[in-house]
Symmetry: C2
Subunit: 394 residues, 2 copies
């Protein structure tokens, strides 16, 4: 773990979750930090999203308070008061102004936050703040809900003679649909950045990582992706080629982190990687990759280890974009199944075995000779997904 300079954090349990697992995470910047955020495009937004949106980008963030187990979404005016109170209580502990506090919530919808528990959680977390790797892991655990596993990524790299660190945590396994930021993600870095550059970088990186994943395509009310920079790596603010280099490192890290979500998708048995090339534009490529990723017929076929290219090609055909049907070509795990709009001979057993034996299924689809390309990651649709989501309580 390469911990960025200038942050302390903690993850604790305060019994919002009946399971007793960690459910409150507090991150504190030692001094005022640059902040940037990308948020859900759902028009029904949770109270914490409204507050956070108004406070990023900025240059004076000092804390992020996150609870899991309750999304504080569709909770009306009570929800707005509770979100403000979470910032207030955090601010009192840290000794900052409430508007220097960002926040996220995730979990069940439509139930008011159990505020006495949440306040106790903030108090506990404040007492346990630290900057060790274990503190970071605890913080990463505090944001999980139906996730089977912790989702983290970090890197350290040099820009000229400076060493820069990025560490990030994410959560998400269901209600994952691609529309700007998806789920919760907190990125910490010490790279010196202006708020404007941080915001622009974050938006571009979201479009290559968290906006390109899905589990069932249902965009949540709480999706939030935050970046905090302490700017403590030293030296002047990044410019020009340094920004490009930083963005490239951040994109690699975020793609790694984003892929962990459908890999851990509720009930998932396969990660499906959909590579679209040859589209008329990037937005056309995105429309096609999202449509294929949203097809239950494609997702159940992969679950059944069935190289059912007909379902994939027909899904591409109803994407809302232009398509040169005479030039469609398709491979699954490198095995060519369809070329120039025509089916070709292939060994079904070999293709099926390849899907069954690999945890990732790679679908490559060429849709013409244009410059547009996009890669999307999703999970397969399994009996376990349906069981889980029909038994999950309101």
């Amino acid at each position: 773990m390469d911990m960025p300079i200038g942050f302390r954090m903690a993850g604790v349990s305060c019994a919002i979750k009946a399971s007793g697992k960690k459910d409150v995470t507090l991150i504190v910047a030692d001094e005022e930090a640059v902040s940037a955020g990308v948020y859900t495009q759902n028009k029904v937004v949770a109270a914490p999203v409204v507050l956070c949106r108004a406070r990023t980008p900025g240059d004076s963030a000092r804390a992020v308070i996150i609870n899991s187990g309750n999304a504080n979404a569709c909770t009306g005016t009570q929800g707005e008061r509770d979100a403000a109170r979470m910032c207030q209580v955090t601010a009192e502990h840290v000794g900052i102004s409430p508007d220097q506090c960002l926040l996220m919530s995730t979990g069940i919808i439509g139930v008011p936050l159990p505020m006495s528990k949440v306040e106790e959680g903030i108090h506990l977390a404040y007492q346990q703040l630290g900057n060790s790797e274990q503190h970071f892991l605890d913080a990463a655990d505090g944001i999980l809900t139906t996730d089977k596993s912790r989702k983290i990524a970090s890197c350290e790299f040099n820009l000229g003679d400076r060493s820069i660190r990025i560490a990030a945590m994410a959560k998400g396994a269901g209600m994952i649909g691609p529309n700007m930021a998806t789920m919760l993600c907190q990125i910490l870095t010490d790279a010196p950045l202006t708020p404007e550059d941080a915001q622009a970088i974050l938006a571009r990186v979201a479009n290559r990582s968290f906006n390109n994943i899905s589990v069932e395509g249902h965009t949540s009310t709480n999706d939030t992706m935050l970046l905090l920079s302490s700017c403590k790596a030293g030296g002047p603010t990044l410019t020009g080629a340094q920004i490009d280099a930083f963005e490239s490192e951040l994109a690699t890290l975020c793609i790694d982190l984003a892929k962990q979500i459908p890999t851990d998708g509720e009930g998932a048995s396969h990660l499906i990687e959909i590579q679209v090339t040859g589209a008329a534009s990037e937005s056309d490529a995105r429309a096609i990759s999202e449509t294929i990723a949203s097809s239950n017929l494609v997702k159940t076929a992969i679950y059944g280890s069935d190289p059912n290219w007909g379902r994939i090609v027909s899904a591409a055909g109803y994407a809302k974009c232009t398509l040169d049907t005479n030039h469609i070509g398709l491979s699954i795990n490198g095995i060519e199944l369809f070329r120039q709009g025509q089916p070709i001979e292939f060994c079904e057993q070999t293709a099926s075995r390849s899907i069954a034996e690999n945890p990732t299924t790679v679908i490559e689809i060429v849709v013409g000779s244009g410059p547009g390309s996009c890669t999307h990651w999703t999970s397969d649709l399994t009996v376990e997904y349906v069981r889980f989501n029909s038994e999950y309580t309101t």
Copy 2:
């Protein structure tokens, strides 16, 4: 059964399906009939759709040949030749020109038609033509694939002193997504209509019936809805208020028929009726109803008898349209769960039991005070759906 005057039909088995069930249906008009068609908006279209599209609307159709078990889709130039050959063989038997023949295919994608079987089927069907109710039922059976039950509807009504008959058959249980005509539907009538009026009526009716249903939202390559009129009810061609009256009867019949499809949706345990009102426009209402209907989280909740209004409201929130989130209201089976953007108290047990005990779940969602409304029907997402579609072979 009210059989329209002027048609004979048959449904036979020629072993395209391994099950031995009926797989070829032939319908012959005694004299030249008015025809109209509405087709899939998928850009990947099967060969029969290409042929049919070029031949409707028209006033000289004499036959419709339909096979099930093989969709003749993604079959390249061979598929085009086979579709033309089906018309040719039918025309030779009936004694008409091949371009007076319409056709549909449904079933697996990407496998060439077994043409010797299909030709034998056409021959057999021609020998068994008749105009009894049993002939109609046999014809309706010949177009089914994964359907558990036959889908038919008919009516007889008076326009002034004339009696008019409509009889229709449909098929579909999977790969059902709303985009113009969905699945196969053949409508027969004896109402005197011009081809232009028939086409306009059919397009409007499709937008209130077959375009408002889904199973998993995957638009197929073969969707076709055909109307044939023998015009033999007598009297002059319908005009003005008579056309409106005919369209109203046809719409009622098609909504009945369309609802049979998600009711029989693969693995379905509930028909879900989604009534959106108060939207800014009809197209906004359609966007919202389709988005809710496409949400696996909504569909698994209904399967689990869970009155999970949070999933429904959040799905409405990511529909691509405007939404007045402070005026959203929601009821399930008449039980109010959400009002003016705020959750309200309700008995979860009562709501859950109501879903469990009724084969249809009615979701009413008000999204503002606009004039736009739309009703959409879909099926729930069950363990059986996933099992079925992961085991269905390429």
